[in-house]
Amino acid sequence: MGKEAFPDTHHSHSENTYLGFWIYLMTDLIMFATFFAVYGVVRNNTFGGPSAKDILDLSYGLVETLVLSTSSFVCALGLRAALTNQKQKMISLFGLTFLLGITFLTMVGFELTHIVQSGYSWEMSAFLSSYFTLMGTHAAHIVIGLIFMAVFVAQVGFWGLTDVTKKRMTTLSMFWFFSYIVWIFMYTIVYLIGAQ
């Protein structure tokens, strides 16, 4: 029995979607890896300005990490609810995921604003350019994740938990976990190692 080129009710199409999305996430990882490699090269190029130690608050970063971890955990619970056809539970859990994501974003916003207001902006050195770019690119991923979270959860609300909407909640969750893992790299490389 051949695998049809274009079914949507057969799970083989979901398999294709998951594989394709995985590969996309790997390309995103390589893009982040490039930014991290650049950070590794320029992290001490402060041009007489502040270094990581001067601008980073490790405890604040830890709280950000905990917020995003919780968001990821709740997302996993939400996905489990979706795959076990518990629509209401899923919606509530993703609502919480969303709120925690917003909280994370707000904390990042405050952090970056504070740094700029202290007089240290990305125009001052390669180190600061790299730091702001890493944080900004990651934040952009969170924003995009939140947008699609809203859209896909709304679709579940309107259409219920079908094969298609479950597939979308799964790929969304993959994206959300991925963004969380990138943040772990961020915290480790930029905050923990960088601010030594």
Partner: protein
């Protein structure tokens, strides 16, 4: 700076006579097409059949058309440059201003690599991968259409730069600090960044799409080691794309941040490192050139067995060689800047890795030659392109291995010797391979055969044209002539060689003339030369088992295979495709969102180039809206009824 128009002023539309006439010709061509479409009432047809299509075969045809147009532009660029370098000696400064000349070689490189080579390769991948693996479509048809429209949007940004503002003049890889905001404050480098960024999104999506297609949608019985060599070469290419293109996205992204937000990744001061850019851009750039050539190797592996009437020699070895080349492609990037002073140990390592690539490449050439050995060779046009490729690509490979020895490279880096080398391998390899693939697969795509004899003349003039155009450049490089010069002193003694090179361009143009003539005459004789059987060459792979062109669903019955060269085996065993007993076929519906997102990404790129921030935000939001609307559409597929399949299949062979 204006709130609405950013830094776009009326000055952007002012150009010198030559540039203006180019812009005017483009506008006239557009106007003529618009008129014809209106007069023949074909707007609906264009929208329904082409712009909103998700059929991989039609998308392939569109790639062909765009790439051919870009090839024309790239060739004209080349002719203009050759003319300038013949005229601009001593007291004369030629007919082109320096800035125009610098934009020419930059745009020539970008157009040829991103929009011609990659476009033609994308066309063949699009048309023939699903057919060769016995699939009815790609894994993600909408994403496939989206890839094409990103490609077009990137190309349109390049073309727009000819008319509004100007293009970059800092070379096709745009090294900082020259490409930074301090030394290039204008719009040129920004156009360069965004034409590449936008089209590269398309390339990356193609990489993901076709990798999933090949891994998941092969017909029953087609294990990996039974796939056609073209499919193998594409698998390896897609892996290269997936690993390399994100680096380009990040790097040009950082260059944009430097230019637009005054960041300091690659500036000379403030802790920036131009050397870091050089490393990053070539970490992408070297895999890129293998992305160009590996599918070509796959095409030749299809062509040589057919026209030797013999199976491919050393299938396993060929696969291993592809994988070896792909792996090595990632560990050689520093050979693009041996002269940047990395030290002898680093230079030695990268030199050794570079030289090693010649081993698996040579294996492929020997395997093709021994496919011909004890075969019965037919000197059709595709085969002539292949033989010319062996001759020219070998010379180019020699010059490449020469340059992989760093101390030799110190004497030829960035000279015309380098320019001759890469044109040698790109023209002798990629371009000849594209022509071979095009003439080989033409009957399948268009339903009629090409008139052979014009093809032979085209090959002849291209080969000799190449030799006259580029062998002098090898010598010029050894004489100390660098690349990218719009003028030189008469005392250098370079002029006679530039004159020979210009003559070579004329010869190549005659070759192109024969190709155009071949298309014209073949089209006129299309009824006489119709491919009625779908198998004009006695083919070995599954695409030849379909009609020419194939029905939109590719296969009425999904094939089941047991061997390499499955169609050949079927013919040997006298098996025919079962008629009747059809089941309804699941197909995707057309969608306008690929086109919409393409237009919006063009606007996004244009907006950032001209600092029109409101437009950037609006077009970005528009892209999200279009995607969300697309995701909210639940009516995206349909079933082809059995009656329609029967009707189409009954017309085969008539």
């Amino acid at each position: 700076m204006n709130e609405i128009f950013g830094r776009l002023t009326i000055d952007a539309f002012k150009h010198d006579l030559i540039e203006a006439s180019v812009g005017v010709s483009i506008l006239i061509a557009g106007a003529v097409m618009t008129f014809l479409l209106t007069y023949y009432k074909r707007w609906t047809w264009l929208w329904k059949e082409w712009i909103t299509t998700v059929d991989h075969k039609k998308i392939a045809i569109m790639y062909l058309i765009v790439s051919a147009a870009m090839l024309f532009k790239g060739v004209v660029d080349a002719g203009m440059m050759r003319a300038q370098q013949v005229l601009s000696v001593g007291d004369s400064f030629g007919y082109l201003g320096t800035e125009h000349y610098q934009q020419l070689f930059t745009a020539h490189g970008v157009a040829m690599i991103f929009f011609v080579a990659m476009g033609f390769v994308a066309a063949f991948i699009n048309y023939f991968i699903p057919l060769q693996i016995g699939a009815r479509d790609v894994a993600f048809p909408f994403v496939n259409a989206l890839s094409f429209w990103f490609f077009v949007a990137g190309g349109m940004l390049l073309i727009t730069s000819l008319m509004i503002g100007n293009y970059s003049g800092v070379g096709w890889v745009a090294y900082p600090p020259l490409s930074g905001i301090e030394y290039s404050p204008g719009v040129g480098v920004d156009y360069w960044i965004w034409s590449i960024q936008v089209s590269s999104v398309g390339t990356l999506l193609t990489g993901i799409n076709f990798l999933v297609t090949i891994l998941k949608m092969r017909c029953p019985g087609m294990s990996l080691m039974k796939m056609p060599m073209f499919v193998w070469s594409v698998v390896v290419t897609l892996i290269l794309i997936i690993f390399a293109f994100p680096i380009l996205t990040a790097t040009t992204g950082m260059l944009t941040l430097d230019r637009v937000m005054e960041m300091h990744f690659f500036t000379s001061g403030f802790g920036g490192s131009p050397m870091m850019y050089v490393n990053l851009i070539w970490a992408w750039g070297h895999p890129e050139v293998y992305i160009l050539i590996l599918p070509i190797f796959g095409i030749f592996s299809e062509i040589v067995p057919i026209f030797s009437q013999k199976k491919l020699f050393g299938y396993v070895s060929m696969v291993v060689a592809l994988i070896a080349i792909a792996f090595l492609a990632f560990v050689v990037w520093l050979h693009h800047f041996f002269t940047m002073g990395a030290g002898p140990n680093v230079n030695t390592f990268f030199g050794l890795m570079t030289m090693l690539i010649s081993v698996p490449t040579g294996v492929k050439i020997f395997n093709w030659l021994f496919t011909m050995f004890r075969g019965k060779i037919l000197f059709t046009t595709p085969m002539l392109w292949f033989l010319s490729f062996v001759f020219l690509f070998t010379i180019g490979g020699v010059s490449g291995v020469l340059m992989s020895v760093a101390p030799i490279d110190f004497q030829v880096h960035n000279s015309l010797f380098l320019v001759a080398h890469f044109h040698n391998v790109i023209i002798g390899g990629v371009v000849f391979g594209i022509f071979a693939g095009f003439t080989y697969w033409f009957p399948k795509m268009f339903g009629f055969k090409l008139e052979e004899k014009y093809g032979a003349f085209a090959v002849f003039f291209w080969v000799f044209g190449f030799l006259f155009a580029f062998i002098p450049l090898y010598i010029l490089g050894l004489m100390g002539a660098t690349r990218r010069l719009d003028h030189y002193e008469a005392s250098t003694g370079w002029w006679p060689l530039f004159a020979v090179a210009a003559f070579g361009f004329v010869i190549i143009s005659i070759g192109i003339g024969f190709q155009c003539l071949q298309l014209y005459v073949s089209y006129k004789n299309r009824k006489k030369n119709r491919d009625k059987t779908g198998d004009p060459w006695n083919g070995r792979t599954l695409e030849w088992s379909t009609s020419s062109p194939p029905p939109f669903y590719n296969f009425a019955h999904t094939p089941e295979v047991h061997d390499i060269d499955p169609f050949w085996v079927m013919k040997e065993k006298g098996l025919k495709e079962a008629k009747g007993n059809y089941e309804k076929i699941h197909m995707p519906k057309n969608t306008p969102h690929g086109f919409f997102i393409g237009v919006l990404s063009f606007l996004f790129g244009f907006a950032i180039v001209w600092y029109m921030w409101w437009l950037a935000i609006v077009s970005l939001i528009g892209i999200f809206v279009s995607l969300i609307v697309r995701f909210s559409d639940r009516d995206t597929e349909w079933y082809v009824p059995v009656e329609q399949i029967e009707q189409i299949e009954s017309k085969r062979g008539k």
